[in-house]
């Protein structure tokens, strides 16, 4: 219970800082929407390609990519903020508090989780305003938002582990392009079957593939677009694994003190 309050307090602080720092707010909320606008307006003709799934709304097809992109960026900014805390000494303040060390990691990831819930709600709402249809209904939307939150924890776990291992803010900032590599090696905005053979094979090993396709299947209420359970398993697996890795990274950091 006590540790729960600690996690909540640290999560609240992570969110507060996120919303007060423009350089963190821009990539997490504005950039995915810009990319969504570009893709929706510039590549909607792709819907006419042979092999493109028969979906009622192109926006509803690509918005899962935006949701997943949001989770990647939420995870990245989370790690960046943690590296900043380490580099500028705020993390030392946390380390002198009598709290379970794991709570320091979980608090940060809790903030990332809530951030992703807010992001995905916004993205789905904006897409809805601009004409997306979600045949899956409100439950599918809620499930998508939840899945986004879990996936963001997975992404945040990776960056938290890097931040704790290196303590380097500049290294975390340099990871920004890699997030796009992860995004575009998954069928985020294009059907997997229409990807080049190499990219197709790579996408099979990218857990984001299963998340984005699961969300797509949920929103479009079409099991041929993906498997929501596989998406959930991929997101949960990633979240558990990376949270464990980041906790180990913290323990290793403390051992090296």
């Amino acid at each position: 219970m006590r540790e729960g309050r600690v996690v909540a307090a640290l999560g609240r602080r992570a969110l507060t800082v996120q919303f007060r720092r423009a350089q963190l707010l821009m990539p997490t909320f504005v950039l995915p929407l810009i990319l969504l606008a570009v893709i929706a307006s510039g590549t909607s003709a792709g819907q006419g390609l042979r092999g493109f799934p028969d979906v009622g709304s192109f926006l509803a097809f690509v918005v899962p990519g935006t949701v997943v992109q949001g989770t990647l960026l939420a995870g990245l900014t989370s790690g960046t903020a943690l590296a900043g805390d380490i580099e500028f000494g705020f993390f030392d303040r946390l380390l002198t508090a009598p709290v379970h060390r794991t709570s320091l990691v979980l608090g940060r990831l809790f903030g990332t989780f809530v951030l992703a819930l807010l992001q995905s709600t916004l993205f789905l709402l904006v897409a809805l305003i601009f004409g997306a249809h979600y045949p899956g209904g409100p439950l599918a939307v809620v499930a998508t938002i939840g899945l986004a939150g879990i996936n963001a924890v997975g992404m945040g776990g990776i960056t938290a582990a890097i931040a704790l291992r290196t303590g380097s803010l500049s290294l975390l900032q340099s990871l920004f392009p890699f997030m796009f590599v992860m995004l575009f090696t998954a069928p985020a905005f294009f059907p997997q079957d229409l990807l080049s053979p190499v990219l197709h094979d790579i996408s099979l090993y990218n857990p984001l593939t299963y998340v984005v396709e699961g969300v797509r299947a949920l929103l479009n209420d079409d099991g041929s677009l993906g498997n929501p359970w596989e998406g959930l398993a991929a997101a949960c697996g990633l979240a558990v694994a990376t949270t464990a890795i980041s906790t180990l990274a913290l323990k290793e950091r403390l051992r090296r003190l």
Binding site: R5, L10, R12, T16, V17, D92, L95, T96, A97, P98
Partner: protein, 327 residues
């Protein structure tokens, strides 16, 4: 043992390349005292504080804080201590009140309790009006006061203040000193690292001087200064020709230093009485019809102590003096 708030035995901390920042340190801080930990930059002060606050592991040796081992019982140590580190950042995007409430949650306070405690501490350190402003807009002195408030959220038994007034203007420094004295009166043990001699003299019950990772002197400021030597009363005579008579007159009051050819009108008398000797000195000279221009008393400083035990002056002493003059 039960009276020691901090107990350190043969503490060593070695960094990469074999650099020994702390080299076999023995130290004891009594419960309820203000212990001034004095030393120049790089002497090992911050390393010791980081070990005592569980932020760094010792290479060897043992350290107990509030009776708990810093390596094996870190959580108990963290419950007992408050820490205001020189290099610990305060998040500039948060308000003072938000930070205090978060700190309260970290120390197990529930929502309403944390809220109440935050309000009380903001008032205590004079930041009630600024409490809802982001810390990024605070002055250096306000940040330090908030830092102190953050360290006090859970009413710690032992408070570590690492160079709390470095870079502060004299007014902010005096405000912080008042707060430290108030904490002392409340019975809190304060472990204060500083490179300012004046700060150690003003606040500390006892002072430990660290140099190259080792404690080179320890005691009350007065006892340390006594070890260096007695105060000297300097008498400037109106007539250099009366120097011999003056020496004879003062001989019974202490040790008269030999005549100096370069300052023939000056007579120096070393006496433990210090300032209290001024009256008897003037009366003795008057009895011998020796006319005096002025009398001044020179007492040993902690810098003299530092010089005596290390062979060099304490960094920061000059800076502190300059700042005092500027004020």
């Amino acid at each position: 043992m039960s009276h020691a708030a901090v107990e350190v035995e043969a503490l060593v901390r070695e960094f990469k390349g074999g650099i020994r920042a702390v080299d076999g340190l023995d130290l004891e801080v009594r419960a309820g005292e203000i212990y001034g930990f004095l030393g120049p930059n790089g002497a090992g002060k911050t390393t010791v504080v980081r070990i005592l606050t569980t932020l760094l592991r010792p290479t060897s040796g043992r350290a107990l804080v509030a009776g708990h081992d810093v390596v094996h019982d870190g959580d108990a140590v963290r419950r007992a201590i408050g820490v205001a580190l020189q290099e610990a950042a305060i998040d500039p995007l948060m308000t003072g009140r938000e930070l205090l409430r978060m700190q309260g949650a970290l120390h197990g306070l529930r929502g309403p309790e944390a809220k109440e405690r935050a309000a009380a501490l903001l008032e205590r350190v004079g930041l009630t009006e600024a409490g809802d402003r982001r810390v990024g807009g605070y002055s250096g002195g306000m940040r330090r006061r908030l830092d102190l408030a953050l360290a006090l959220v859970h009413r710690p038994h032992v408070l570590f203040l690492d160079e709390p007034t470095t870079g502060l203007d004299p007014t902010s420094r005096a405000a912080l000193w008042r707060e430290v004295r108030a904490l002392h009166e409340d019975g809190t043990t304060v472990f204060l690292t500083t490179q300012y001699l004046e700060e150690a003299e003003q606040l500390a019950d006892r002072v430990g001087i660290i140099n190259r990772g080792n404690l080179v002197a320890e005691g009350t400021p007065a006892s340390l200064k006594e070890r260096v030597g007695e105060p000297t009363v300097h008498v400037e005579l109106a007539d250099p020709g009366s120097a011999a008579a003056a020496r004879a007159a003062l001989a019974r009051l202490g040790t008269v230093e030999p005549a100096n050819e370069r300052t023939p009108s000056r007579v120096a008398l070393r006496t433990a009485a210090g300032r209290a000797a001024i009256g008897p000195v003037i009366r003795a000279l008057d009895d011998h019809s020796v006319q005096v221009e002025f009398v001044e008393v020179e007492t040993p400083t902690l810098d003299d102590v530092f010089m005596a035990v290390t062979g060099s002056h304490l960094e920061g002493a000059e800076r502190a003096e300059e700042e005092a003059e500027a004020a």
